[in-house]
């Protein structure tokens, strides 16, 4: 039962990503070319409502389903890892049209070529693990 709810949330996520067209390479290109409001509208809506939701969860000290007070992780306050890592991520995002979630949704959708992107992403993650201590964070 506990396993099932996470699978179902994933199914819903896959459907949302597909029906919003956020898994589309073309939509990501349109976004980076500033030729449509679509992707900005999606992310903007999620973040605007998200800020309100997170504020209310903290303010009302809401508890999780396991009875603990909900807390939000603070990201460590550095600069280089975010700007350099983010830029590298963005290069790949524009080229493949897929961030990690949509890669897997695309495979389910039937774009098996996306498996090659996933193999690359696993390799990239592995490379980071090897050289992480040599990088500025």
């Amino acid at each position: 039962m506990k396993a099932l709810k996470f699978i179902l949330a994933g199914v819903l996520f896959g459907i949302i990503m597909t029906k919003s067209e956020a898994i589309s390479w073309f939509r990501i290109q349109e976004m980076f070319r500033f030729q449509s409001f679509h992707m900005y509208g999606i992310i903007g809506t999620a973040v605007t409502l998200g800020i309100i939701a997170v504020f209310l969860i903290k303010k009302l000290k809401l508890k999780s389903s396991e009875g603990q007070q909900i807390t939000f992780q603070h990201k460590e306050k550095t600069f280089y890892r975010y700007i350099i890592g983010g830029t590298i991520f963005g290069l790949g995002w524009a080229l493949t049209g897929a961030c990690p979630g949509p890669m897997f949704v695309n495979v389910g959708y039937g774009y098996l070529a996306m498996l090659i992107v996933i193999i690359g992403a696993l390799a990239g993650t592995y490379i980071y693990g090897i050289i992480k201590d040599k990088l500025p964070h």
Binding site: A3, F6, I7, L8, G10, F13, G14, I16, K19, S20, E21, S24, W25, F26, R27, Q29, R33, S36, F37, M39, I42, A46, V47, L49, G50, A53, E66, I70, F72, K75, K77, Y82, G86, T87, I88, F89, G90, L91, G92, W93, A94, L95, G101, M103, F104, G108, Y109, L112, M114, I116, V117, I118, A121, L122, A123, G124, T125, Y128, G129, K132
Partner: protein, 185 residues
């Protein structure tokens, strides 16, 4: 009802539904961040024996892998039972810009030049997909998150590091789109 779901969803409803996913996970005591799964998969494949970064108790991330499995199933359900026969409503400007760099739009969600099985006969295409994937995997772990972890979860929690990461996403995306892609295809 099913007919309504089958149509492409407007941006405001899509954005609202993404928030619902984030809140579901938060209320279950988890946090929305997809790229962590890539690290977990490396660990399961045995990377922890050689590299310290992958030596962690991945079972705490089991829920996220289940979420990943669900995402694949969700993609399958969407294409088999919820698909919309209409073409993607891509902007005319994007269609014509992409044509100039050799990518044609035929109405689908992804270009045949990169993602059709036939195009995989070209070693160049395989290299592009593989290299692009490496950038996404390396970059998301280096930045400590991807679109879900930084752009959605992080910005909702007003994290300055996430804003810096998202600015990075755009620097990289713009450089790729305008300075590199015109010479790739």
């Amino acid at each position: 009802m099913l007919e309504l779901i089958k149509q492409p969803w407007p941006w405001y409803f899509s954005g609202f539904m993404i928030l619902i996913i984030m809140l579901l996970l938060v209320f279950w005591g988890k946090s929305f961040g997809f790229s962590s799964n890539l690290r977990t998969l490396c660990t399961i494949a045995g990377a922890g024996k050689k590299v310290k970064f992958f030596n962690f108790d991945w079972k705490a991330q089991r829920w996220n892998l289940l979420f990943l499995v669900g995402a694949v199933i969700g993609g399958f359900i969407s294409s088999h039972y919820l698909s919309d026969p209409e073409d993607l409503k891509l902007s005319a400007a994007t269609i014509s810009d992409l044509q100039k760099i050799g990518i044609s739009f035929k109405g689908g969600i992804n270009p045949d030049e990169l993602f059709s099985v036939a195009s995989l006969k070209e070693p160049k295409v395989i290299l592009i997909l593989l290299f692009g994937g490496i950038l996404v995997g390396f970059g998301s772990r280096y930045a400590g998150g991807c679109t879900s972890g930084h752009a959605i979860s992080g910005l909702s929690n007003l994290q300055l590091p996430s804003l810096i990461a998202v600015i990075g996403f755009f620097i990289g995306g713009l450089v790729m789109t305008f300075l590199i892609m015109p010479y790739l295809f």
